[in-house]
Protein backbone atom coordinates (compact mmCIF):
# COMPACT_ATOMS: atom_id res chain seq x y z
CA UNK A 1 0.00 0.00 0.00
CA UNK A 2 1.92 2.96 -1.26
CA UNK A 3 1.86 6.50 -2.36
CA UNK A 4 -1.47 8.17 -1.77
CA UNK A 5 -2.94 5.24 0.10
CA UNK A 6 -0.05 5.02 2.55
CA UNK A 7 -0.53 8.72 3.26
CA UNK A 8 -4.31 8.36 3.76
CA UNK A 9 -4.81 5.54 6.26
CA UNK A 10 -8.58 5.32 5.71
CA UNK A 11 -7.98 4.19 2.16
CA UNK A 12 -5.84 1.29 3.37
CA UNK A 13 -9.06 -0.59 4.11
CA UNK A 14 -9.49 -0.93 0.36
CA UNK A 15 -6.93 -3.66 0.67
CA UNK A 16 -9.40 -5.77 2.64
CA UNK A 17 -11.23 -6.33 -0.63
CA UNK A 18 -8.68 -5.73 -3.35
CA UNK A 19 -5.81 -7.47 -1.58
CA UNK A 20 -7.94 -10.54 -0.88
CA UNK A 21 -7.84 -13.63 -3.03
CA UNK A 22 -11.48 -14.33 -2.11
CA UNK A 23 -13.18 -10.95 -2.02
CA UNK A 24 -11.60 -9.45 -5.13
CA UNK A 25 -13.11 -12.00 -7.55
CA UNK A 26 -16.40 -11.74 -5.64
CA UNK A 27 -16.26 -7.98 -6.09
CA UNK A 28 -15.96 -8.29 -9.84
CA UNK A 29 -18.72 -10.90 -10.02
CA UNK A 30 -21.03 -8.52 -8.21
CA UNK A 31 -19.92 -5.77 -10.58
CA UNK A 32 -20.96 -7.93 -13.53
CA UNK A 33 -24.29 -8.70 -11.89
CA UNK A 34 -24.91 -5.04 -11.23
CA UNK A 35 -24.42 -4.21 -14.89
CA UNK A 36 -27.00 -6.79 -15.93
CA UNK A 37 -29.41 -5.50 -13.33
CA UNK A 38 -28.80 -2.01 -14.67
CA UNK A 39 -29.50 -2.87 -18.29
CA UNK A 40 -32.55 -4.99 -17.40
CA UNK A 41 -34.07 -2.08 -15.57
CA UNK A 42 -33.08 0.33 -18.30
CA UNK A 43 -35.02 -1.69 -20.85
CA UNK A 44 -38.18 -1.14 -18.87
CA UNK A 45 -37.43 2.51 -18.34
CA UNK A 46 -36.99 3.13 -22.04
CA UNK A 47 -40.19 1.32 -22.87
CA UNK A 48 -42.13 3.27 -20.22
CA UNK A 49 -40.68 6.50 -21.58
CA UNK A 50 -41.95 5.52 -24.98
CA UNK A 51 -38.47 5.23 -26.47
CA UNK A 52 -38.34 2.63 -29.19
CA UNK A 53 -35.00 0.93 -28.69
CA UNK A 54 -33.25 -0.75 -31.62
CA UNK A 55 -30.07 -2.86 -31.49
CA UNK A 56 -28.01 0.06 -32.78
CA UNK A 57 -29.46 2.35 -30.13
CA UNK A 58 -28.49 -0.16 -27.47
CA UNK A 59 -25.01 -0.36 -29.00
CA UNK A 60 -24.67 3.42 -28.94
CA UNK A 61 -25.88 3.62 -25.38
CA UNK A 62 -23.60 0.77 -24.25
CA UNK A 63 -20.61 2.48 -25.86
CA UNK A 64 -21.47 5.75 -24.16
CA UNK A 65 -21.93 4.05 -20.80
CA UNK A 66 -18.61 2.22 -21.22
CA UNK A 67 -17.05 5.61 -21.80
CA UNK A 68 -18.45 6.84 -18.48
CA UNK A 69 -17.34 3.64 -16.76
CA UNK A 70 -13.78 3.78 -18.10
CA UNK A 71 -13.46 7.51 -17.41
CA UNK A 72 -14.32 7.04 -13.75
CA UNK A 73 -12.14 3.95 -13.37
CA UNK A 74 -9.24 5.59 -15.20
CA UNK A 75 -9.46 8.83 -13.27
CA UNK A 76 -9.43 7.08 -9.94
CA UNK A 77 -6.60 4.83 -11.09
CA UNK A 78 -4.49 7.93 -11.62
CA UNK A 79 -5.59 9.24 -8.22
CA UNK A 80 -4.52 5.96 -6.65
CA UNK A 81 -1.17 6.30 -8.42
CA UNK A 82 -0.55 9.53 -6.53
CA UNK A 83 -1.34 11.59 -9.65
CA UNK A 84 -4.50 13.16 -8.20
CA UNK A 85 -4.28 16.27 -10.36
CA UNK A 86 -3.97 14.23 -13.56
CA UNK A 87 -6.86 12.02 -12.47
CA UNK A 88 -9.19 14.94 -11.80
CA UNK A 89 -8.27 16.64 -15.08
CA UNK A 90 -8.80 13.34 -16.87
CA UNK A 91 -12.29 12.98 -15.39
CA UNK A 92 -13.06 16.65 -15.93
CA UNK A 93 -12.15 16.72 -19.61
CA UNK A 94 -13.60 13.36 -20.61
CA UNK A 95 -16.55 13.77 -18.27
CA UNK A 96 -17.49 17.05 -19.96
CA UNK A 97 -17.10 15.42 -23.36
CA UNK A 98 -19.34 12.55 -22.28
CA UNK A 99 -22.05 14.91 -20.99
CA UNK A 100 -22.10 16.62 -24.37
CA UNK A 101 -22.13 13.28 -26.18
CA UNK A 102 -24.84 12.12 -23.78
CA UNK A 103 -27.09 15.03 -24.77
CA UNK A 104 -26.61 14.14 -28.43
CA UNK A 105 -27.27 10.50 -27.68
CA UNK A 106 -30.51 11.40 -25.90
CA UNK A 107 -31.78 13.09 -29.07
CA UNK A 108 -30.83 10.09 -31.16
CA UNK A 109 -32.56 7.68 -28.77
CA UNK A 110 -35.74 9.73 -29.02
CA UNK A 111 -35.90 9.37 -32.80
CA UNK A 112 -37.78 6.50 -34.37
Amino acid sequence: MNGLLSNAPALMYFDVIFGSTVLKPLFWMIMGGLLILFFSGLRLWFSDLGIAMRWWKWALFAAWFMGVYVTIAGGFTLVGENEARAGLYFMGVFGTLLIILGAGLWRILNTK
Binding site: M1, N2, G3, L4, L5, S6, N7, L11, F14, D15, I17, F18, G19, F27, W28, I30, M31, G33, L34, L35, L37, F38, F39, S40, G41, L42, L44, W45, D48, V68, Y69, V70, I72, A73, G74, G75, F76, T77, L78, V79, G80, E81, N82, E83, R85, A86, Y89, F90, V93
Partner: protein, 491 residues
Protein backbone atom coordinates in the same frame (compact mmCIF):
# COMPACT_ATOMS: atom_id res chain seq x y z
CA UNK B 1 -54.20 -8.44 -9.58
CA UNK B 2 -51.68 -10.26 -11.71
CA UNK B 3 -51.18 -7.07 -13.68
CA UNK B 4 -50.57 -5.03 -10.51
CA UNK B 5 -48.02 -7.57 -9.30
CA UNK B 6 -46.31 -7.34 -12.68
CA UNK B 7 -46.11 -3.56 -12.49
CA UNK B 8 -44.71 -3.69 -8.95
CA UNK B 9 -42.03 -6.09 -10.04
CA UNK B 10 -41.43 -3.95 -13.06
CA UNK B 11 -41.03 -0.89 -10.85
CA UNK B 12 -38.74 -2.79 -8.57
CA UNK B 13 -36.44 -3.84 -11.41
CA UNK B 14 -36.48 -0.32 -12.72
CA UNK B 15 -35.37 1.18 -9.42
CA UNK B 16 -32.92 -1.60 -8.61
CA UNK B 17 -31.46 -1.11 -12.04
CA UNK B 18 -30.80 2.57 -11.40
CA UNK B 19 -29.24 1.81 -8.02
CA UNK B 20 -27.19 -0.95 -9.64
CA UNK B 21 -25.94 1.44 -12.28
CA UNK B 22 -24.92 4.01 -9.68
CA UNK B 23 -23.23 1.38 -7.55
CA UNK B 24 -21.40 -0.01 -10.52
CA UNK B 25 -20.04 3.44 -11.33
CA UNK B 26 -18.95 3.92 -7.71
CA UNK B 27 -17.39 0.47 -7.82
CA UNK B 28 -15.50 1.34 -10.98
CA UNK B 29 -13.99 4.30 -9.17
CA UNK B 30 -13.14 2.25 -6.11
CA UNK B 31 -11.56 -0.49 -8.17
CA UNK B 32 -9.57 2.07 -10.11
CA UNK B 33 -8.31 3.62 -6.90
CA UNK B 34 -7.20 0.23 -5.66
CA UNK B 35 -5.64 -0.78 -8.96
CA UNK B 36 -3.65 2.41 -9.11
CA UNK B 37 -2.27 1.91 -5.62
CA UNK B 38 -1.82 -1.86 -5.72
CA UNK B 39 1.69 -3.10 -5.01
CA UNK B 40 1.08 -5.78 -7.61
CA UNK B 41 1.30 -2.98 -10.12
CA UNK B 42 4.86 -2.11 -9.03
CA UNK B 43 6.66 -3.83 -11.87
CA UNK B 44 9.83 -5.55 -10.77
CA UNK B 45 8.93 -5.37 -7.12
CA UNK B 46 6.25 -7.95 -7.47
CA UNK B 47 5.86 -10.76 -9.92
CA UNK B 48 9.48 -10.83 -11.00
CA UNK B 49 10.65 -14.21 -9.80
CA UNK B 50 8.53 -16.07 -12.34
CA UNK B 51 9.20 -13.74 -15.20
CA UNK B 52 5.71 -12.24 -15.16
CA UNK B 53 7.09 -8.73 -15.18
CA UNK B 54 8.38 -9.23 -18.68
CA UNK B 55 4.83 -9.08 -20.04
CA UNK B 56 5.25 -7.00 -23.18
CA UNK B 57 4.76 -8.90 -26.43
CA UNK B 58 7.89 -8.00 -28.39
CA UNK B 59 7.21 -10.17 -31.42
CA UNK B 60 5.26 -7.63 -33.49
CA UNK B 61 8.14 -5.18 -33.09
CA UNK B 62 11.13 -7.27 -34.05
CA UNK B 63 13.33 -5.37 -36.43
CA UNK B 64 16.45 -6.02 -38.48
CA UNK B 65 17.65 -2.47 -37.97
CA UNK B 66 18.09 -1.75 -34.29
CA UNK B 67 16.91 1.68 -33.27
CA UNK B 68 20.36 3.12 -32.86
CA UNK B 69 21.28 4.76 -36.11
CA UNK B 70 24.53 3.71 -37.74
CA UNK B 71 26.17 6.49 -39.77
CA UNK B 72 29.80 5.46 -40.17
CA UNK B 73 32.53 3.04 -39.19
CA UNK B 74 32.05 1.79 -35.63
CA UNK B 75 34.98 1.97 -33.19
CA UNK B 76 35.70 0.55 -29.76
CA UNK B 77 34.83 2.69 -26.73
CA UNK B 78 37.80 4.48 -25.15
CA UNK B 79 38.18 4.07 -21.43
CA UNK B 80 37.98 7.80 -20.82
CA UNK B 81 34.56 8.06 -22.45
CA UNK B 82 33.17 7.05 -19.09
CA UNK B 83 32.85 9.98 -16.73
CA UNK B 84 33.87 8.03 -13.67
CA UNK B 85 36.99 6.70 -15.35
CA UNK B 86 37.97 10.23 -16.27
CA UNK B 87 37.42 11.49 -12.75
CA UNK B 88 39.46 8.64 -11.36
CA UNK B 89 42.32 9.48 -13.72
CA UNK B 90 42.16 13.17 -12.88
CA UNK B 91 42.13 12.46 -9.17
CA UNK B 92 45.13 10.20 -9.57
CA UNK B 93 47.03 12.89 -11.48
CA UNK B 94 46.23 15.57 -8.92
CA UNK B 95 47.33 13.38 -6.03
CA UNK B 96 50.97 14.14 -5.21
CA UNK B 97 53.13 11.41 -3.66
CA UNK B 98 54.69 12.65 -0.37
CA UNK B 99 57.35 15.27 -1.08
CA UNK B 100 56.59 15.42 -4.79
CA UNK B 101 54.64 17.79 -6.99
CA UNK B 102 51.38 16.39 -8.44
CA UNK B 103 51.51 15.23 -12.05
CA UNK B 104 48.84 17.74 -12.94
CA UNK B 105 46.97 20.66 -11.37
CA UNK B 106 44.18 22.96 -12.54
CA UNK B 107 46.67 25.77 -13.15
CA UNK B 108 48.46 23.70 -15.79
CA UNK B 109 45.32 23.59 -17.94
CA UNK B 110 43.86 20.92 -20.20
CA UNK B 111 46.80 20.99 -22.63
CA UNK B 112 49.14 19.73 -19.94
CA UNK B 113 47.06 16.58 -19.40
CA UNK B 114 48.48 13.27 -20.64
CA UNK B 115 46.75 11.38 -23.44
CA UNK B 116 44.02 10.27 -23.85
CA UNK B 117 42.62 12.89 -21.45
CA UNK B 118 44.27 15.74 -23.36
CA UNK B 119 42.54 14.92 -26.64
CA UNK B 120 39.31 14.14 -24.88
CA UNK B 121 39.06 17.58 -23.29
CA UNK B 122 40.53 19.33 -26.35
CA UNK B 123 37.53 17.96 -28.31
CA UNK B 124 35.12 19.15 -25.61
CA UNK B 125 35.87 22.72 -24.65
CA UNK B 126 34.50 23.71 -21.27
CA UNK B 127 33.98 20.16 -20.02
CA UNK B 128 36.98 20.36 -17.71
CA UNK B 129 35.73 23.62 -16.25
CA UNK B 130 32.38 22.03 -15.56
CA UNK B 131 34.11 19.34 -13.60
CA UNK B 132 36.08 21.94 -11.65
CA UNK B 133 32.75 23.58 -10.84
CA UNK B 134 31.35 20.22 -9.79
CA UNK B 135 34.15 19.87 -7.28
CA UNK B 136 33.37 23.31 -5.94
CA UNK B 137 29.66 22.39 -5.78
CA UNK B 138 30.55 19.28 -3.83
CA UNK B 139 32.18 21.39 -1.16
CA UNK B 140 29.12 23.63 -1.05
CA UNK B 141 26.81 20.63 -0.95
CA UNK B 142 28.58 19.20 2.07
CA UNK B 143 28.36 22.60 3.74
CA UNK B 144 24.62 22.80 2.96
CA UNK B 145 23.82 19.32 4.17
CA UNK B 146 23.25 20.23 7.86
CA UNK B 147 20.44 22.48 6.66
CA UNK B 148 18.60 19.67 4.90
CA UNK B 149 19.56 16.78 7.06
CA UNK B 150 16.54 17.07 9.32
CA UNK B 151 14.29 16.93 6.29
CA UNK B 152 15.98 14.10 4.49
CA UNK B 153 17.62 11.97 7.12
CA UNK B 154 15.60 8.94 6.08
CA UNK B 155 16.26 9.29 2.39
CA UNK B 156 19.92 9.47 3.32
CA UNK B 157 19.85 6.43 5.60
CA UNK B 158 17.84 4.47 3.05
CA UNK B 159 20.37 5.21 0.36
CA UNK B 160 23.32 4.45 2.62
CA UNK B 161 21.78 1.14 3.59
CA UNK B 162 21.26 0.06 0.00
CA UNK B 163 24.80 1.12 -0.87
CA UNK B 164 26.38 -0.52 2.16
CA UNK B 165 27.44 -3.79 0.69
CA UNK B 166 29.48 -2.07 -1.99
CA UNK B 167 32.36 -1.13 0.26
CA UNK B 168 34.74 -2.99 2.50
CA UNK B 169 35.22 -6.74 2.60
CA UNK B 170 31.54 -7.21 1.84
CA UNK B 171 31.85 -6.19 -1.78
CA UNK B 172 30.02 -8.56 -4.09
CA UNK B 173 30.50 -9.89 -6.71
CA UNK B 174 34.27 -10.21 -6.43
CA UNK B 175 36.22 -8.30 -9.04
CA UNK B 176 38.06 -10.26 -11.71
CA UNK B 177 41.76 -10.86 -11.06
CA UNK B 178 44.05 -11.24 -14.06
CA UNK B 179 43.18 -11.44 -17.76
CA UNK B 180 39.73 -12.67 -18.81
CA UNK B 181 41.28 -15.80 -20.25
CA UNK B 182 42.02 -16.69 -16.64
CA UNK B 183 39.47 -14.88 -14.52
CA UNK B 184 36.38 -15.68 -16.62
CA UNK B 185 37.25 -19.36 -16.32
CA UNK B 186 38.11 -19.31 -12.62
CA UNK B 187 35.76 -21.44 -10.58
CA UNK B 188 34.38 -23.00 -13.75
CA UNK B 189 33.52 -26.70 -13.62
CA UNK B 190 34.42 -29.02 -16.47
CA UNK B 191 31.59 -29.24 -18.95
CA UNK B 192 29.61 -32.34 -18.06
CA UNK B 193 26.56 -32.29 -20.32
CA UNK B 194 25.87 -30.55 -23.64
CA UNK B 195 22.83 -28.35 -24.16
CA UNK B 196 20.10 -29.71 -26.41
CA UNK B 197 20.32 -26.49 -28.42
CA UNK B 198 21.31 -22.83 -28.00
CA UNK B 199 17.58 -22.10 -27.64
CA UNK B 200 17.43 -24.42 -24.67
CA UNK B 201 20.37 -22.54 -23.22
CA UNK B 202 18.60 -19.19 -23.62
CA UNK B 203 15.29 -20.38 -22.18
CA UNK B 204 17.04 -21.92 -19.21
CA UNK B 205 19.22 -18.89 -18.47
CA UNK B 206 16.23 -16.56 -18.70
CA UNK B 207 14.11 -18.57 -16.27
CA UNK B 208 16.96 -18.92 -13.79
CA UNK B 209 17.81 -15.24 -13.99
CA UNK B 210 14.20 -14.32 -13.26
CA UNK B 211 14.27 -16.43 -10.10
CA UNK B 212 17.43 -14.56 -9.10
CA UNK B 213 15.34 -11.38 -9.16
CA UNK B 214 15.70 -9.98 -12.68
CA UNK B 215 12.64 -8.18 -14.02
CA UNK B 216 13.79 -8.35 -17.63
CA UNK B 217 16.30 -10.64 -19.31
CA UNK B 218 17.46 -10.51 -22.93
CA UNK B 219 20.33 -12.10 -24.81
CA UNK B 220 22.46 -10.80 -27.69
CA UNK B 221 25.67 -11.57 -29.55
CA UNK B 222 28.41 -9.21 -28.41
CA UNK B 223 29.45 -6.77 -31.13
CA UNK B 224 33.08 -5.72 -30.87
CA UNK B 225 32.22 -2.03 -30.90
CA UNK B 226 30.41 -2.20 -27.61
CA UNK B 227 33.56 -3.37 -25.82
CA UNK B 228 35.64 -0.74 -24.04
CA UNK B 229 39.28 -0.25 -24.88
CA UNK B 230 42.22 1.01 -22.87
CA UNK B 231 41.19 -0.59 -19.58
CA UNK B 232 40.32 -4.12 -18.69
CA UNK B 233 38.98 -5.09 -15.28
CA UNK B 234 41.40 -7.48 -13.61
CA UNK B 235 44.29 -6.27 -15.77
CA UNK B 236 44.22 -2.48 -15.65
CA UNK B 237 45.11 0.01 -18.35
CA UNK B 238 45.77 -1.94 -21.50
CA UNK B 239 44.88 -2.13 -25.16
CA UNK B 240 43.37 -5.54 -25.68
CA UNK B 241 41.67 -7.71 -28.26
CA UNK B 242 38.13 -8.78 -27.46
CA UNK B 243 38.57 -12.25 -25.91
CA UNK B 244 37.48 -15.12 -28.13
CA UNK B 245 34.99 -16.43 -25.56
CA UNK B 246 33.08 -13.14 -25.25
CA UNK B 247 30.35 -14.37 -27.58
CA UNK B 248 27.04 -13.60 -25.88
CA UNK B 249 25.71 -11.13 -23.35
CA UNK B 250 22.88 -11.95 -20.97
CA UNK B 251 21.41 -8.51 -20.25
CA UNK B 252 19.46 -8.05 -17.02
CA UNK B 253 17.18 -5.18 -15.98
CA UNK B 254 15.70 -4.24 -12.62
CA UNK B 255 13.85 -1.08 -11.54
CA UNK B 256 14.26 1.25 -8.61
CA UNK B 257 11.57 1.11 -5.95
CA UNK B 258 8.82 3.16 -7.60
CA UNK B 259 7.65 5.59 -4.93
CA UNK B 260 11.14 6.69 -3.93
CA UNK B 261 12.11 6.88 -7.62
CA UNK B 262 9.19 9.23 -8.39
CA UNK B 263 10.42 11.41 -5.49
CA UNK B 264 13.72 12.19 -7.21
CA UNK B 265 16.14 13.89 -7.03
CA UNK B 266 16.17 13.80 -3.22
CA UNK B 267 14.43 10.61 -2.14
CA UNK B 268 15.60 8.29 -4.89
CA UNK B 269 18.77 6.30 -4.72
CA UNK B 270 20.67 4.24 -7.23
CA UNK B 271 21.66 1.45 -4.90
CA UNK B 272 18.34 -0.31 -4.43
CA UNK B 273 18.53 -1.39 -8.07
CA UNK B 274 22.32 -1.60 -8.18
CA UNK B 275 22.60 -3.91 -5.20
CA UNK B 276 19.84 -6.11 -6.61
CA UNK B 277 21.57 -6.27 -9.98
CA UNK B 278 24.95 -7.15 -8.48
CA UNK B 279 23.27 -9.91 -6.53
CA UNK B 280 21.63 -11.26 -9.71
CA UNK B 281 24.59 -11.20 -12.09
CA UNK B 282 27.02 -12.36 -9.40
CA UNK B 283 24.88 -15.45 -8.93
CA UNK B 284 24.36 -15.88 -12.68
CA UNK B 285 28.12 -15.85 -13.35
CA UNK B 286 28.53 -18.70 -10.87
CA UNK B 287 25.53 -20.57 -12.30
CA UNK B 288 26.95 -20.44 -15.84
CA UNK B 289 30.43 -21.43 -14.70
CA UNK B 290 28.95 -24.40 -12.84
CA UNK B 291 27.48 -25.56 -16.16
CA UNK B 292 30.98 -25.49 -17.64
CA UNK B 293 31.12 -22.21 -19.56
CA UNK B 294 33.19 -19.09 -18.94
CA UNK B 295 31.30 -16.09 -17.59
CA UNK B 296 32.04 -12.52 -16.51
CA UNK B 297 29.58 -10.37 -14.58
CA UNK B 298 29.13 -6.70 -15.53
CA UNK B 299 27.57 -4.60 -12.84
CA UNK B 300 26.89 -1.08 -11.62
CA UNK B 301 27.98 1.39 -10.62
CA UNK B 302 31.25 1.09 -12.56
CA UNK B 303 32.28 -2.53 -13.06
CA UNK B 304 31.73 -2.71 -16.80
CA UNK B 305 33.87 -3.81 -19.74
CA UNK B 306 31.06 -3.15 -22.24
CA UNK B 307 28.52 -0.39 -22.86
CA UNK B 308 25.10 -1.36 -21.54
CA UNK B 309 22.40 0.53 -23.48
CA UNK B 310 23.53 -0.78 -26.88
CA UNK B 311 23.70 -4.41 -25.76
CA UNK B 312 20.28 -4.01 -24.13
CA UNK B 313 18.96 -2.73 -27.46
CA UNK B 314 20.59 -5.67 -29.26
CA UNK B 315 18.94 -7.99 -26.75
CA UNK B 316 15.51 -6.53 -27.54
CA UNK B 317 14.84 -5.04 -24.15
CA UNK B 318 14.00 -1.54 -25.35
CA UNK B 319 15.21 1.62 -27.07
CA UNK B 320 17.44 4.46 -25.99
CA UNK B 321 15.66 7.64 -24.86
CA UNK B 322 16.46 11.30 -25.27
CA UNK B 323 17.96 11.23 -21.78
CA UNK B 324 20.41 8.53 -22.85
CA UNK B 325 18.79 5.98 -20.57
CA UNK B 326 17.32 2.77 -21.96
CA UNK B 327 13.50 2.80 -22.06
CA UNK B 328 11.71 -0.54 -21.87
CA UNK B 329 7.97 -1.12 -22.36
CA UNK B 330 7.60 -2.64 -18.89
CA UNK B 331 9.76 -0.32 -16.80
CA UNK B 332 10.01 2.82 -18.89
CA UNK B 333 13.16 4.70 -18.01
CA UNK B 334 13.15 3.09 -14.57
CA UNK B 335 15.37 0.43 -16.11
CA UNK B 336 18.80 -0.24 -14.59
CA UNK B 337 21.10 -2.66 -16.34
CA UNK B 338 23.70 -5.31 -15.60
CA UNK B 339 24.93 -8.28 -17.62
CA UNK B 340 26.96 -11.45 -17.83
CA UNK B 341 29.31 -11.97 -20.79
CA UNK B 342 29.63 -15.66 -21.59
CA UNK B 343 30.91 -18.26 -24.03
CA UNK B 344 27.87 -20.46 -23.39
CA UNK B 345 26.06 -21.23 -26.68
CA UNK B 346 22.81 -19.24 -26.62
CA UNK B 347 20.14 -18.04 -29.01
CA UNK B 348 20.16 -14.27 -29.35
CA UNK B 349 16.96 -12.25 -29.04
CA UNK B 350 16.05 -9.69 -31.67
CA UNK B 351 16.02 -5.93 -31.12
CA UNK B 352 12.65 -4.16 -31.10
CA UNK B 353 11.20 -0.99 -32.51
CA UNK B 354 8.11 -0.15 -30.55
CA UNK B 355 8.06 3.54 -31.45
CA UNK B 356 9.83 4.65 -28.28
CA UNK B 357 12.67 6.48 -29.98
CA UNK B 358 10.18 8.14 -32.34
CA UNK B 359 8.14 9.28 -29.33
CA UNK B 360 11.29 10.79 -27.77
CA UNK B 361 11.72 12.97 -30.85
CA UNK B 362 8.43 14.68 -30.02
CA UNK B 363 8.12 14.50 -26.23
CA UNK B 364 11.06 16.48 -24.75
CA UNK B 365 9.58 16.39 -21.22
CA UNK B 366 12.87 15.12 -19.76
CA UNK B 367 14.80 17.94 -21.45
CA UNK B 368 12.30 20.50 -20.18
CA UNK B 369 12.58 19.18 -16.61
CA UNK B 370 16.32 18.46 -16.46
CA UNK B 371 17.76 20.76 -13.76
CA UNK B 372 21.19 20.73 -15.41
CA UNK B 373 20.26 21.41 -19.03
CA UNK B 374 22.25 18.32 -19.98
CA UNK B 375 19.55 16.89 -22.28
CA UNK B 376 19.24 18.01 -25.90
CA UNK B 377 16.11 19.82 -27.16
CA UNK B 378 16.72 19.11 -30.85
CA UNK B 379 13.91 17.48 -32.81
CA UNK B 380 16.13 14.57 -33.72
CA UNK B 381 19.42 13.33 -32.28
CA UNK B 382 22.31 15.29 -33.74
CA UNK B 383 25.33 13.93 -31.90
CA UNK B 384 27.40 11.29 -33.65
CA UNK B 385 29.29 9.03 -31.25
CA UNK B 386 31.78 6.54 -32.67
CA UNK B 387 29.78 6.13 -35.81
CA UNK B 388 26.33 6.17 -34.29
CA UNK B 389 23.92 9.06 -34.24
CA UNK B 390 22.20 9.11 -30.95
CA UNK B 391 21.00 11.17 -28.05
CA UNK B 392 23.94 11.94 -25.78
CA UNK B 393 23.69 13.98 -22.60
CA UNK B 394 26.28 16.48 -21.44
CA UNK B 395 27.90 14.32 -18.79
CA UNK B 396 29.67 17.03 -16.80
CA UNK B 397 26.56 19.21 -16.61
CA UNK B 398 24.56 16.27 -15.35
CA UNK B 399 27.18 15.37 -12.75
CA UNK B 400 27.38 18.97 -11.61
CA UNK B 401 23.73 18.90 -10.55
CA UNK B 402 24.30 15.75 -8.54
CA UNK B 403 26.56 17.91 -6.42
CA UNK B 404 23.88 20.56 -6.11
CA UNK B 405 20.67 18.92 -4.88
CA UNK B 406 19.85 18.66 -1.18
CA UNK B 407 21.68 15.42 -0.41
CA UNK B 408 24.85 14.93 1.63
CA UNK B 409 26.99 14.14 -1.38
CA UNK B 410 26.62 13.44 -5.09
CA UNK B 411 24.02 10.70 -4.93
CA UNK B 412 22.66 11.31 -8.44
CA UNK B 413 19.56 13.12 -9.74
CA UNK B 414 17.37 10.75 -11.81
CA UNK B 415 14.68 13.39 -12.51
CA UNK B 416 14.75 12.43 -16.21
CA UNK B 417 13.88 8.86 -15.22
CA UNK B 418 11.00 9.94 -12.98
CA UNK B 419 9.32 12.37 -15.40
CA UNK B 420 9.60 10.13 -18.49
CA UNK B 421 6.05 9.29 -19.68
CA UNK B 422 7.15 5.69 -20.19
CA UNK B 423 8.00 5.36 -16.48
CA UNK B 424 4.67 3.90 -15.42
CA UNK B 425 3.53 1.09 -13.16
CA UNK B 426 1.74 -2.04 -14.29
CA UNK B 427 -2.00 -1.42 -14.20
CA UNK B 428 -4.81 -1.59 -16.70
CA UNK B 429 -4.67 2.07 -17.74
CA UNK B 430 -1.00 1.99 -18.69
CA UNK B 431 -1.22 -1.55 -20.01
CA UNK B 432 -3.89 -0.47 -22.51
CA UNK B 433 -1.52 2.27 -23.68
CA UNK B 434 1.35 -0.24 -23.78
CA UNK B 435 -0.68 -2.47 -26.09
CA UNK B 436 -2.38 0.15 -28.27
CA UNK B 437 0.26 2.82 -28.79
CA UNK B 438 2.98 0.81 -30.56
CA UNK B 439 0.36 -0.82 -32.82
CA UNK B 440 -1.00 2.46 -34.18
CA UNK B 441 0.70 3.11 -37.54
CA UNK B 442 -0.68 6.66 -37.78
CA UNK B 443 1.03 7.91 -34.63
CA UNK B 444 -2.20 9.71 -33.65
CA UNK B 445 -2.54 7.68 -30.48
CA UNK B 446 0.95 8.72 -29.39
CA UNK B 447 0.15 12.35 -30.16
CA UNK B 448 -3.04 12.15 -28.09
CA UNK B 449 -1.19 10.51 -25.20
CA UNK B 450 1.54 13.14 -25.30
CA UNK B 451 -1.11 15.87 -25.31
CA UNK B 452 -2.78 14.39 -22.24
CA UNK B 453 0.59 13.93 -20.57
CA UNK B 454 1.43 17.60 -21.03
CA UNK B 455 -2.00 19.00 -20.05
CA UNK B 456 -3.15 16.67 -17.25
CA UNK B 457 0.16 16.15 -15.48
CA UNK B 458 2.07 18.91 -13.73
CA UNK B 459 5.83 19.26 -13.46
CA UNK B 460 7.75 21.39 -10.98
CA UNK B 461 10.07 22.85 -13.65
CA UNK B 462 13.85 22.43 -13.91
CA UNK B 463 14.96 24.89 -11.20
CA UNK B 464 12.48 23.75 -8.55
CA UNK B 465 14.53 20.63 -7.83
CA UNK B 466 17.44 22.71 -6.55
CA UNK B 467 17.75 24.18 -3.06
CA UNK B 468 16.94 27.84 -2.46
CA UNK B 469 17.60 30.43 -3.74
CA UNK B 470 17.51 28.78 -7.20
CA UNK B 471 14.71 26.36 -6.39
CA UNK B 472 12.66 24.89 -3.57
CA UNK B 473 13.95 21.33 -3.02
CA UNK B 474 10.99 19.95 -4.96
CA UNK B 475 10.67 16.34 -5.97
CA UNK B 476 8.73 15.21 -9.03
CA UNK B 477 6.06 13.50 -6.89
CA UNK B 478 5.81 13.71 -3.10
CA UNK B 479 7.75 10.99 -1.29
CA UNK B 480 5.94 8.04 0.30
CA UNK B 481 5.11 8.34 3.98
CA UNK B 482 7.74 5.79 4.96
CA UNK B 483 10.54 8.02 3.68
CA UNK B 484 9.26 11.24 5.20
CA UNK B 485 11.47 12.05 8.15
CA UNK B 486 8.90 14.17 9.96
CA UNK B 487 6.37 11.34 10.02
CA UNK B 488 8.65 9.45 12.39
CA UNK B 489 11.05 11.87 14.08
CA UNK B 490 10.72 14.97 16.26
CA UNK B 491 12.26 17.82 14.34
Amino acid sequence: MKNTKGINRRDFIKKAGLIGGAMSLAGAGAAGLAAGAASESYTGWGRTAYGKDQFFNRKPFFTDTPTYEKTGAPARIPYVDDLFNRLRELRRLMMAPPGQAPAWSWEMGAEALPEPLKSYYADRPGALDEYRQALENARQQRANWPKYRADHLLAEAYSAAHASFLSGPGSFPPQPQGPPEESDFRGMDNRYLELKSPRHGSDLIKQITHTFGASLVGICRLKKEWVTQGFLRGVGRTDFEVPAHWNYVVVVAAPHEWDSMYANPIYGNSYDAYSKLRFIVGKLEVFIKKLGYPARAQFPPTSFDIAMPPVAIDAGLGEQGRHGVLITPELGANTRLAAVITGMPLEADRPINAGIKAFCNKCKICAEECPSGAISFTDKPETVVRGYRRWAIHQEKCYKVWNTVATSHARGCRVCIAVCPYTRKRNWVHNIVRVADPRDPTGLFATAMLGMQKTFFSYPGPEAYLPPPDGSNKTYIDPPKWLKTDEWFIK
